[in-house]
Each structure stands twice: as C-alpha cells, then as structure tokens.
C-alpha cells in the first residue's frame, strides 16, 4: 500500500513539474525565449549572435576555414546566374524588383507570413512564383536549382536584416502550432524528431557531424552545400527526413510551409546572410 502511494505521489510530482518549452499553453514568444534559455544552459560558451553559424560556432578551426572560404567563395559564378535571373526583365518588360517593396531590398526577413485571406503560410518562394504568375511567366519548381539560385541572390538583398516573422491571429497561431508539432514528432525508421537532434542533443556528434542548434538555422538559406550544390531550406527538410529514413514531403506542402514558419520564427532577431557555404 505504502509503495503504491509513493508511486502515485512521484507520478503527480513529475507530472506537475513538467513546464518545459513543449507546454501547449505557451505563446510563440515564450517558446522562443525558453529555447534560447535551453541553449544557454547546454552550450554556455556560445553567444546568441553566433547561433547563425550553427556547428561552426562550436569549432574554431572549422569557423576559420569557413571565413577563409567566404572571402572569395567558389560559388560566385553560380550566384551570378541567380543575379541574372533576378535582373532579366520578363516578356512584359517588368522585373522581379517590381513585385516587392523597396525593389526587394530588406524584405526577406518578413517571410514567411500568414495570409489571413487565403488562410495559409506564404513563403518567400511563394512570393517569387506569385510574381512570375502575375507577369505571365511560368513558375519555378520549389526545391529546384533555378529557384535555389534565384532566391540565393534575391535573399542576399536582405543581408543584415533581422529575421522578423510575425505570428498574429488565430490562423497564424494554428499554423505555427502545426509546424511546432511536426518539429517535435518522431519520424522515420530511425524514429528521431527534428527536436531530438537539434534541441535535445545540440552540440553532440552524430557520426562525424556536430549537431547545430535550431535557433539561428533559418536565417541563412539557401546554402551552397559542399560549395557547389544549391539547397533551399525545404530542400534541406527533405534531406533531413531522408536521413532519419522517413518519406520526405514535397516542397511547398502545407507541412513544410508550417514547419518553415515555426522554424523561422525561432530565429527572430538574428541577422540574415544569404547564400552561405556549408560542408
């Protein structure tokens, strides 16, 4: 009898004590602050501003190699292709710059946003395709190389801008919560959630790679991985899902858009830099 009572008490204690970042009643801002506190505890030597470097912030030798590469990146020629795509006028004479405020400068930090009228998350890539459609041009495949190169240049126009995603209103909050749930749900044959690696085990090694922290991840996409392959954020979602042996979703699926919404919100306040090199 005493044993059973002890168990019940322990269960109640543990149940009440759990008020971590995954509690459903917290707001996005509370979630974000709680996450940053978590990283401050498990990775105390890394400054908040350096979260944008991910695993590079944990390894000074890797960071110095990265800095030396970024001085004169070998992807400059590919990036020029993106610039050409951005600057070439459509058949009707207009350019991409006409679809965005300020000619496309310092706008990328506001994406994704939740559009109440269409009741969905709108990503930067959605905006690019909307621009193409509005000007009578064919749209681009979401995780393809063309979209990658174009957005690599287009987003670079917002370099330095702080990520500034807003979650306001019931629809936005619902999409945010869906993204958060996807992030925290175990997936694939290896049964890992995104959270398993990038929140619970950030800083640890998985085979030969060090796991980056989630805060700061969304601020620097697309990336030239290996210096040559352009990968968009949702392209990377697909790769990560394959890594845990799950079946990836399609780029621009509702799941990935909500996930991008959640992930980008978590990087609010950090400066953007596009594109970047990763090994």
């Amino acid at each position: 009898m005493k044993r059973i009572l002890t168990f019940i008490m322990a269960g109640l204690l543990f149940g009440c004590a759990h008020t971590g970042p995954t509690a459903d009643s917290s707001s996005p801002e509370e979630d974000r602050v709680a996450l940053i506190d978590h990283y401050k505890q498990i990775l105390p030597n890394i400054k908040f501003e350096d979260y944008i470097y991910g695993a590079l912030a944990m390894n000074p030798d890797a960071k110095s190699q990265y800095d030396s590469f970024m001085e004169f990146p070998s992807y400059s020629i590919d990036l020029d292709k993106g610039r050409k795509m951005w600057e070439t006028p459509f058949k009707n004479g207009k350019q991409f710059a006409s679809c965005f405020p300020n000619g496309g400068k310092n706008v990328a930090g506001d994406y994704p946003y939740f559009d109440n009228a269409s009741n969905r998350v709108v990503t930067f890539e959605n905006a690019i395709n909307a621009c193409l459609k509005a000007n009578g041009e064919a749209d681009l495949k979401y995780a393809g190389d063309e979209m990658g190169l174009l957005t690599a240049y287009a987003r670079s126009l917002s370099d330095g801008m702080k990520v500034n995603v807003k979650v306001e209103g019931a629809g936005a909050l619902a999409a945010y919560e869906k993204g958060k749930k996807y992030y925290e749900t175990r997936n694939g044959q290896l049964n890992f959630a995104c959270k398993t690696c990038h929140v619970d085990n950030a800083g640890k090694f998985i085979r030969s790679d060090q796991l980056s922290m989630m805060v700061g991840q969304a601020s620097h996409w697309p990336e030239f991985r290996g210096g040559t392959d352009i990968v968009t954020l949702q392209g990377r979602f697909k790769q990560c899902e394959k890594n845990v042996r799950a079946k990836p979703k399609e780029a621009n699926s509702e799941e990935y858009n909500d996930l991008e919404y959640y992930l980008t919100y978590m990087s609010n306040g950090l400066p953007m830099l596009t594109p970047v090199f990763r090994k």
Binding site: F72, S76, I77
Partner: protein, 104 residues
C-alpha cells in the same frame, strides 16, 4: 557569361595569397548528354601559368580530375602591394583564358 575569370590577390604577412575562379565546364569526355544519349566531348583546361610581375611563378598541367568552374588558390613569396599577378589558362581546344589582378 561576363568575365571568364575572377581573381583576388591580398597580402598575408609577407606572402601574396592569390585566389582565382575560372568559369569552365571541365567536361571529362566520359559523360553522356541525358537528352541525346551521346557522349559530351572532352573540354577542359589543361594548362595554367601564373606570373608575378611577368615572371612565371606557377606552371600547372591539369587533367579531367579538376571539377567544373575550377578554383585555384596559391601563395607566392616576394610580392608586395601594387604588384601584378597574371593567370593564363589554356584548354584542350586551344581556347585561352587570361586574367590579371593588382595585389591589394
């Protein structure tokens, strides 16, 4: 296609650090065109000569192992700001690619 070559030369202590990016497909001749199913003929840079103020400091023979849009980096002693670094590349079809930069 703007310029075929992008170059940068900076001082690192008393050594000149030169970085060169050359735009070139570097086709090995062993890959097939997916649409026509025919072999894409070999088309690659096979010689690179670098000079410092006109004097040859690097002479390289490249083969098909070098990747597309090759990146070349090398360090030269005895240079100072204002010196000219030249890079001249030739490919297997005889095309020439030349670039010159002033050491910063």
């Amino acid at each position: 296609m703007a310029e075929a070559m992008k170059m940068r030369a900076t001082m690192d202590g008393d050594v000149v650090d030169v970085k060169v990016l050359i735009q070139h497909p570097m086709d090995t001749g062993l890959m097939k065109d997916k649409k026509t199913d025919k072999l894409i003929p070999a088309f690659f840079i096979n010689q690179v000569v670098a000079t410092l103020n006109g004097k040859t400091v690097l002479d390289a023979q490249w083969g098909v192992g070098v990747a597309q849009n090759p990146f070349l980096g090398f360090r030269v002693k005895g240079g100072k700001p204002g010196d000219k670094v030249g890079v001249n590349a030739v490919d297997n079809l005889g095309n020439k690619y030349d670039g010159e930069v002033v050491v910063a």
